[in-house]
Symmetry: C2
Subunit: 887 residues, 2 copies
Amino acid sequence: MTKWVYGFGGGSAEGRSEMRELLGGKGANLAEMSNLGLPVPPGFTITTEVCTAFYDNDRNYPADLNDEVETALKAVENLVGRKFGNVADPLLVSVRSGARASMPGMMDTVLNLGLNDDTVEGLAAVSGDRRFAYDSYRRFIQMYGDVVLGVEHYNFEEILEIHKEDKGYVLDTEMSADDWQEIVEGFKAKVAEELGRPFPQDPREQLWGAIGAVFGSWMNARANTYRRLHNIPASWGTAVNVQAMVFGNMGNECATGVCFSRNPSTGENRFYGEYLINAQGEDVVAGIRTPAPLTKIEREESGSDLLSMEEAMPAVFADLVAVRDKLEAHYRDMQDMEFTVESNRLYMLQTRSGKRTAKAALRIAVEMCDDGVISRDDALMRVDPAQLDQMLHPTLDPDAEKQVIGMGLPASPGAASGQIVFSAEVAEDWAHNKGRKVVLVRIETSPEDIAGMHAAEGILTARGGMTSHAAVVARGMGKPCVCGAGAIKIDYRGGTMNAGGVMLKEGDVITIDGGTGEVMLGEVATLKPDLSGDFSQLMEWADGVRRLKVRTNAETPEDAETARGFGAEGIGLCRTEHMFFDPARIISMREMILAETEAGRRVALAKLLPYQRQDFIDLFRIMKGLPVTIRLLDPPLHEFLPHGDNEIAEVAKAADVSESIVRRRLLDLAESNPMLGHRGCRLGISYPEIYEMQARAIFEAAIEVSKAGGDQVIPEIMIPLVVGKKELEILKAAIVKVASEVEAEQSAKLTYLVGTMIELPRAALRAGDIAEEAEFFSFGTNDLTQTTFGLSRDDASHFLDTYIAKDIFAGDPFVSLDQEGVGELIALAAERGRKTRPDIKLGICGEHGGDPSSIAFCEAQGLDYVSCSPYRVPIARLAAAQAALKK
Amino acid sequence: MTKWVYGFGGGSAEGRSEMRELLGGKGANLAEMSNLGLPVPPGFTITTEVCTAFYDNDRNYPADLNDEVETALKAVENLVGRKFGNVADPLLVSVRSGARASMPGMMDTVLNLGLNDDTVEGLAAVSGDRRFAYDSYRRFIQMYGDVVLGVEHYNFEEILEIHKEDKGYVLDTEMSADDWQEIVEGFKAKVAEELGRPFPQDPREQLWGAIGAVFGSWMNARANTYRRLHNIPASWGTAVNVQAMVFGNMGNECATGVCFSRNPSTGENRFYGEYLINAQGEDVVAGIRTPAPLTKIEREESGSDLLSMEEAMPAVFADLVAVRDKLEAHYRDMQDMEFTVESNRLYMLQTRSGKRTAKAALRIAVEMCDDGVISRDDALMRVDPAQLDQMLHPTLDPDAEKQVIGMGLPASPGAASGQIVFSAEVAEDWAHNKGRKVVLVRIETSPEDIAGMHAAEGILTARGGMTSHAAVVARGMGKPCVCGAGAIKIDYRGGTMNAGGVMLKEGDVITIDGGTGEVMLGEVATLKPDLSGDFSQLMEWADGVRRLKVRTNAETPEDAETARGFGAEGIGLCRTEHMFFDPARIISMREMILAETEAGRRVALAKLLPYQRQDFIDLFRIMKGLPVTIRLLDPPLHEFLPHGDNEIAEVAKAADVSESIVRRRLLDLAESNPMLGHRGCRLGISYPEIYEMQARAIFEAAIEVSKAGGDQVIPEIMIPLVVGKKELEILKAAIVKVASEVEAEQSAKLTYLVGTMIELPRAALRAGDIAEEAEFFSFGTNDLTQTTFGLSRDDASHFLDTYIAKDIFAGDPFVSLDQEGVGELIALAAERGRKTRPDIKLGICGEHGGDPSSIAFCEAQGLDYVSCSPYRVPIARLAAAQAALKK
């Protein structure tokens, strides 16, 4: 027979902390604290299985539930020495929901249940405080009326406000026992008026009403939405906790508070919290009174004039410290606890693992490990990799004053200040030639702005979402970026921006916080990231356990250096096209595109060769023998041509052709769907000379670096956008030919790999054939996601929010890999590729390479490495370690 | 031990016609004819396995080949009674290649091999014709020099021309024996000069040289290209046929000719062919002399003044007729034969199945079946479905005069004449209001031109390939279309077009032939298609054996009627968006798009509802209870908005909003990659009211048609572009709700299906889940191909030709389904869908539904139906029958 109810209290419990699934988080920890002998008011938990049975059985309870509740209630009565509904000395209880995972949107709490017109008098008599009794009763009616009976809160607020006005009171504390009694009458009348029946007086009816409200709220709209968004199955159900009331509001020997076993902000191993004398829990939350610090040192440090608990209630405080020590030692993690003091006696109402900042998480994990409380593996699992991003960028000084003049999306973390510039050219000019710090402000950005974005301290755009060009590129660069700040009106021609009525012009200083989306006037002080100490310690441990290598996506020496600093073990994706946007090179690039013949293209490419060679020399030197994967030219050629009239004229002049030729070429190259167009290896097939030049640049650079005494360079040349084996066969042959030529010219021997991106569904399907040619695969999950979903990343913003809101997508598939769809193609390609070539090297590049859940997927698939933008390298290192540990 | 050489002649052979793989087509049929006792000059076939061994063994022949050739040669010598190389009475031979499939690009033929300075005199003596002997010798040097020794043809031509000039001759017939002897000397000197060694005099050296040239040509560039394009594996190899020479040029009792057992143009069961007296085979091909008709009746019908063979050589002709009868009865198919008459004796040199027109193919198949020669199944297999397209459209009268003024791509078959119009609006106006026949001439077309394309007799565009908008839409409509006629310059403003120097203006008449790509001045007479008789007979047989249903893609009553006429069994794809481009509707459509609120959209949609309802009423009536699959709105909304300044102004005025609102909406809706954008069910999710209106129109129409006494309509409502189950779940619920409302309003009961397109890789992967909601799948192979390949159909023309030329693609994947990639996704989706819902209805729509090889794939996958454009319905019916037979 199923057991539906689990009692706790009196130094023992029927449950344990491991029974979280059955008892919910709160119930399991209440049981655990009881078992530990901690002072927990007795009570019982109605299990999550009752919730499931309730919904499976058309909202009816299991037949024997009533008996089990009665038995459990009797046990509580015996422990407390009061009887539920007893008029002389009533047992009052709280009723709280408690799901496996904390879940907003559900009914939370009803306190003081069991009060009615009779028992309130008993409470008055026993407590000796009639005002307290009636205050408690009116609180009960208010809470129960709102959350159980559905009489909205404002109905009660109104009655209370009118009463206070009539009496000329300002504060609730001015209310007398009689006042509260009058309020109770008013509340009861209101409930009767709203519902057409009186407020329930029978405590059992009250209890079942509250239990029913908790179970009912499991399926309300908000809870359903929350569950969908957080992938919580409805079948989990919620538990209900019924617990004897203790009162923190029965006078000055009473109190209530919340505390953390360590500082949740800094991680410092020092008891931390706040409390209120003579208050009920909800008062702390409501913020009507300012809570006092828990410890003396906190009071001193904060300069508070409120007496700390350590000073005001030293004995009870000592008990609390003992509880803190016991709980932390027991759970081996920083605890977030709630307590109440009734007449100088401490009661524990809740404990759970405390939320913490990244900094605190790191410090706690490392210190607990150093103290031998937890293992290194445990320490690694304790830090959320995504949180690390907070640590890697400058942050606003929390003490600095700031005037927020606009808000956008927090697109790329970090804070930056600088002078406003409205074009990439000015950004470069001011930054490089005048040594100024600038913030690039654009309506939106395009690939031509890359150099300007690099030169700027941060980027602000008026348009675009979290996956807009600005956002993606800025994250890749680790530049702070606020995007989609729609209320900021930018006038390029006037050289001004209007932010919330503040008119700013080029050269004015602003500060942006890419972690919050705030735009601020003037320079706001920032703090530099500190990556030594706990951070580097944890990273070292992570490196000790992870199997996946972590590379970076980088094409500039700056990015490569940054990534090395963050621990990257090579370059997994060097996008060579980014190298052509430099003003000195774009001219030759355009000359190449405008050429009518292969010979003409070769002339232009010959001018690009020295630049490309130097690019690779720089990268190879920085990477000191680590692998460098270079993707040959990928974007469609029209991306390199200008579109405005003036620019067309300039280009025509520079290339010494007529404007009409430029315009005709633009028209020739125009595409309806550039993402699915003439790009990737399709360019290499159409214009073999482009890839030949790039291959030559790579090989010449490799030889030069090796000859100059550097580590031997083993470049990995990557062909993008293949749909099958044949393209690779043709292009690989051309690359091998160039390699032989360079070897002969330079009398040197080259070692290199030729591989491919798997970024189209067909390539994944044909991976078995492709592996006959490819020495490695790199999963290009950005494009693979675009094509598998038929979803353009640039256009998805039109409906992505709707899709997430309607639970069609669990999240943005460009952020976290779609394991069910795209993931199946990756798994299949890995399997087929390995079947053909057992030692094929497999990696992933693209945004997903820095996303923890996607990294876990890569570990499960046994890939060799992930590659991500430099600022995500530490995240990937930790995520890879966690994935290895989970495996 | 492998047998390398197979002899034939003298009434028997070592080979048979079934040994085509080993002996090649020519060798197998020579053997077969020998076995049949037909007069075949004796010879032997060196097998294709020698070719394979030759290449496998670094271009060396098998050790025992020489002995086998000698033995076979001796057998030929014995049969002929002459010896190879014998000076007094030499055996001469021909050497011909013969692969399994006819293959241009390879060495074809060397005749008269065995002649040298000595044997030529023997030939002169034996034949009594010295001129003939030296003419034969010079022909041999010329042919052998060119194809075996690589001395180019012009070298010989030059010597002959100079000689004739010197002598003052015009015709070769003026050349005497001495002249030819002089020429022989000149030819030999030229060969020695070019090669640095004399022309080979040893007959065995000549023979092995020719054999080596045939095998060598198997791997030359042209042959390699041809094989790649036609998917012929290199491993097949070619055979070499060595055969005793017979001479059709030894005087007036000699002749040579080609003939067909039935008329290859009309299919009529009448002997047909042409011949030349006193000539060698190459003379017929060279076209120097005009061949004469074979039969008397042919001569009479053609009014030829050349005596027919029937009249000139009645006895030999009677022999040939007997051979014809024997071969057709034996092969049970129309034969294409080559023969030579030497001194009134008939020799057969070749027989094979004859190429034929569609009309002939049909007639021959039906008549042979009626005569009991072949079975119905054989008859069905004898007609190439793709050929049928020729039959379905008007064709140019072959007797009509025509002045071609331009050429484009043959984008959609059929011939059409009409007055030139340069805009869709004028096309509609002239056609509908003035009853004129027009040809729509555009630089390129867009969806807004659909109505004008419908109104026109044919379409001509200056830009775009075989899969351009104009081409695809015209094929769908069955309209003749010539596209990409780049040399035609169109001036919209001036209302003129310049075609090859001919300047035409609006209203001038042209004729286009969409089967050839020709553009002609004025009206050229056309012939109407005749679909009765053999055509309808074969179709009836096809319907008797096929399992796959054939539906059509249609949204207009015209197309639906056409398709029914062609035998469509329902509509598989009704693209509702095409219904909104009508001028009366586009206004409301744009009003809907410009509305700021759902309420505003609903107002506009209410105006569209009656139109949509009437659309469906029309289609349901035409389809008389057959299934109709309706795809809800699919394209991105910006496709319905105009882009030119004038049109923007018009739309703003019509919608009573400011131009800036139209422009802003245009900007809002603009997409980088519309193919991967906010379209398909994504619109239904964002704007549920659109699909609700469409569902209502469908349901109201179904009830109206059923109530009016028509057959019961069971509409199949199709949701496009899903990526998983959830979208379908949401949208199906909305459709079911509308159905219930309509049922309640009309007091009627609806029967309908709700299903989905599987047109994205993710949908194919998630088909198992999707089938929980979907009652049918329709594979949208156009989009599935685009996304699987990451290849935009609109942009593919930039490199598709290169990809095909380089053998990366076997063909255009938008024409013939890519079975290796896209096909795997279809197979997987079918399997997963059926696992969830065993009776799920599966079909395919999109261009591939009318492609025979794709239809065979659909049959193999056990799909329920294919759907194609109306004019491809007969093709699909036959292809489906063939697929069923092959299975």
